[in-house]
């Protein structure tokens, strides 16, 4: 069927070891003459090395397992890009597994990853349930946890600078002159939301604006959650004129809600949101966003993992919170998609 290394050796009239040395360019030197013969034979047979055999022998697969909740979400999709590209450029393949936010599947993946003998794992948790992660930690596979709950399972974790994002968003609104600023958060007490909230509070404190708990609305994360949260805010006796939202879907909900109430954005109401779902923000030039470079985050987590795999000491910068920045789009006076 497919040619093996022995076929090549036979045709080139050398030993199979020599063929190895040619292909791997080492660890032993090969005379140019022999090398040419071997290369010729390889070409003639259309020989392709068998990675499976190689992996078995080497006790290494040059594969990393990537567990994500959902490819469909643009946030994760970009992260995946960054990971896959970096891995590939460093000679690793990526096995993609998506949990569909399902803990049961996560448990299955731990087993799969173990039998597949992947060299390492990048794990984006489906929920705050860390049980599957603990199970994974038992296997002693090098693991990087992306965001959220890594610390709880005692694993290397990558996080975004939620605190600074919350701070930047709020300071921006303050600089625009707002005194009453709402924060539409997530329902669950994720570390994400907490960090963003702390940033919000510190920015207020810095500007000596008193903190009013009424201005914190526990939203959801979808468009309509934002819309309804805005209505709650507007119904307050002293409604806010600026709003910071946990993510961009809710920010868009806020924009829509504002329109329904006859408010002009950004004249009557300023809105800033994290751009978790980037495509959505992209269609809304009037929206100011807190941007985190997900591709870069993916790149970093891959680099961190590869260091772990090779038992190198990772650059400490890699585990610091990834920086965020505020992006104000040119509001050309151009209008909304309807």
């Amino acid at each position: 069927m497919t040619a093996t290394r022995d076929d090549v050796a036979r045709l080139a009239k050398v030993s199979s070891a020599t063929v190895s040395y040619v292909i791997n360019d080492g660890p032993r030197p090969v005379s140019d003459e022999t090398k040419t013969k071997v290369l010729e034979a390889i070409h003639q047979l259309g020989y392709q090395p068998n990675a499976v055999a190689r992996n078995l022998r080497m006790q290494r697969t040059f594969t990393i397992g990537l567990v994500i909740p959902d490819t469909h979400n643009p946030y994760f999709a970009e992260v995946v890009s960054g990971i896959e590209e970096t891995a590939f450029n460093n000679g690793y393949k990526v096995i993609l597994l998506h949990s569909s936010y399902n803990t049961e599947k996560e448990f299955q993946f731990v087993e799969l990853l173990r039998t597949e003998r992947v060299d390492g794992v990048i794990w984006i948790p489906a929920s705050s349930n860390v049980e599957p992660l603990k199970e994974l930690a038992l296997s002693e596979l090098p693991t990087v946890v992306f965001d959220r709950v890594g610390a709880q399972a005692d694993l290397q974790a990558l996080v975004t600078d939620n605190y600074h994002g919350g701070y930047l968003a709020t300071r921006h609104l303050i600089e625009l002159g707002h005194k009453r600023i709402g924060y539409i958060s997530r329902p669950v007490e994720l570390s994400h939301s907490q960090g963003r909230l702390r940033g919000y509070m510190d920015a207020l404190a810095e500007a000596q604006i008193p903190f009013d708990p009424e201005l914190i609305i526990k939203g959801g994360f979808l468009l309509d959650d934002g819309r309804r949260a805005l209505f709650s805010l507007l119904d307050l006796p002293c409604a806010p004129t600026g709003v910071f939202t946990y993510n961009d879907m809710m920010a868009i909900g806020v924009l829509r809600g504002a329109f329904e109430r006859g408010l002009n954005v950004p004249k009557d109401l300023s809105v800033v949101g994290f751009d978790d779902i980037s495509q959505a923000a992209f269609t809304c030039p009037a929206l100011t966003t807190i941007h985190l470079d997900k591709f870069e985050m993916g790149r970093r987590s891959a680099i961190l993992l590869m260091a772990l795999i090779n038992k190198e000491i990772p650059d400490p910068k890699l585990t610091q919170p990834a920086e965020v920045r505020l992006i104000t789009r040119e509001t050309t006076g151009v209008a909304p998609p309807v």
Copy 2:
């Protein structure tokens, strides 16, 4: 280090073959008593079978290679979901490779896929350059080409029903009473665009509306391409009142352009676009879209590939164009994100 099957066999005081039969539940029967002993030993050692060794022995990897241009694009992201989930549920893993629309990388992937001994490949081409695909075809790996250029390389291909989509979009506009209907297409003569154009023309013919080549604008595929294409259309002596766009990004560009020209959508101008980039359409309730179920397309391509791998005769339905449908969103009078 990690326990092997021999360790299990030794501990259970059976042969390693017996352990195999227990694990694989065949092909030879094992007495309940022995089975229990083996299971016990497995548990005790925390044994996990080594898939690499298994793959080598079986000459099969239960892995499919998935080559896509770009994870970032929501269109592909959904397809990937469908493929990955279906593959996993059938015992296959997916190796993800993204070409970043780069033909050079595609060539590299062909080699990688061969040395990895994947059982099959699902390939979404980066461009209309079929050379990498021809190279892949040489390897005789079971392959499904997603959309576009498959036929040219003589491979199984999956396509969307572009024709019917174009027809549905145009008929919808006709039913709304429009007589002058523009089509904003792609620049390159992809089969996609061609099919959609034919559907457009046939719908016009059916309604006995004369075809006017001036109403066909060769756009790009981005938001601003749609915006500018609309301006070209509006500048015609007899401007259209309905527009069909190749994709939803351009449709959104049209909406924005319409706003700039003071046109009210859908009162003064009706717009229908393919929803290739679903997230974008989602934020625009006034937009009517031609929907294709990308998750389902992914599912189908995986099923088709698995049939190919097992040398079964695939369900002929799988290779028929995937159906599309027209989706009119509730236009609640609710407004645009700004």
